[in-house]
């Protein structure tokens, strides 16, 4: 069970004041939250890396949290930002190594977190672009496979993914 919003917010305020114990506890909670947040939204083998990158971002940018505002929307904005970066990096660097994604077991709470966050972003870009991004960057299909499955040319798939990622980057703070 992840700590509630008020507790997280209080722990973060203490961490900004230099309380190491509160900070360690907060980061542990944040880690759990992120693991659920990214569930089904990245290649499982790379989830730990993504979680660590967000934890480092939280550490480096902890001064940007305003203690008078809720903590989770702040964390979610940073997590979304890193997720879009991750999707870009997957596309650039590891395209050939991707394998079919495993389907991790998950609770309803996991799904809820994902749906409130990353799925909602994908739902706001054109369906074709969202589908191609999911296939290539999350499920690990190659461009050729995605082209075959979608009936588009390989270059059209690349253009659609590129455009979709640009749109996702602009949606990082959107709540609806």
């Amino acid at each position: 069970m992840i700590a509630d919003e008020q507790t997280l917010s209080r722990m973060m305020a203490l961490a900004q004041g230099g309380d190491k114990q509160a900070y360690a506890a907060l980061l542990t909670e944040v880690r759990r939250w992120l693991e659920r947040f990214f569930s089904r939204r990245c290649i499982p083998a790379q989830r730990d890396d993504l979680v660590q990158e967000v934890l480092i971002a939280v550490h480096n940018k902890r001064a940007t949290y305003d203690p008078s505002r809720p903590f989770l929307p702040w964390l979610a904005a940073i997590a979304r930002y890193r997720w879009v970066d991750y999707l870009r990096a997957v596309y650039r660097a590891a395209e050939d190594e991707l394998t079919e994604a495993e389907t991790p077991s998950e609770t309803e709470e996991d799904s809820l977190i994902a749906r409130l966050s990353l799925d909602r972003m994908l739902a706001q870009i054109p369906h074709t672009q969202a589908r191609l991004i999911t296939w290539v960057k999350i499920e690990g299909l190659s461009i050729r496979q995605a082209a075959g499955r979608s009936g588009q040319s390989e270059s059209a798939v690349k253009v659609n993914i590129h455009r979709g990622l640009k749109k996702l980057a602009a949606l990082t703070e959107k709540a609806e």
Binding site: Y23, A24, L27, E53, L55, P67, W74, A77, A170, E173
Partner: protein
Amino acid sequence: MSRSTNELIREMADELTPVRSLRLRDGLARVAGALMLTLIAIESIAGLWRGVWQGEASTFYILTNGLLLLLGCAATSTVLRMASPQVGNQHEGPRWAFLAVALLPVAALPALLGHDHPVVALGSFHGLKCMSLSLAAASLSAVALFLWLRRGAPVSPATAGLHLGIASSALGAGAWGLACPLDGDVHLGIWHVLPVFLGALLGRLALPSLLRW
């Protein structure tokens, strides 16, 4: 990244130092300071136009500079808020102010086209001078906003760059406008507004890569 997440958490907790959270009022104070310095520089180099206070300025002059400063304030507030990300943040405040400013060239167009010599009416020499000086007057605010965003965590660098360009150029054009005694519709509507479009373009194209973190 091979080290374990537990180890990473332990290391980050060990090296924790107190930080002062980014506060909107601190950012506002910095930009206000930059604008004040800009106005002092304009006063000492070119001198602010005293005619404004003696009732000599046209309505269009008041409207143009007022709208530019309003747009500058709206976009500045947005840029400062973008340093502290939050799902649910809205950054659409400056949109209406920008559209209002964009109406100024449209309002100037009939006067320009109705003129016997439109090219002369355009007054390119004074116009170009005002445009360049407006952009120069934008530089201090731009630096203040840029440094603020670099300290922060803007999660939409493209939008942040665009708003930074609009904010600083609108403040710059508004500040320089207080020194320019040319208060005709064409001059103000074209040459005092053009820097905002240029600033927006520059911010959108040049800044995103510098704002990524």
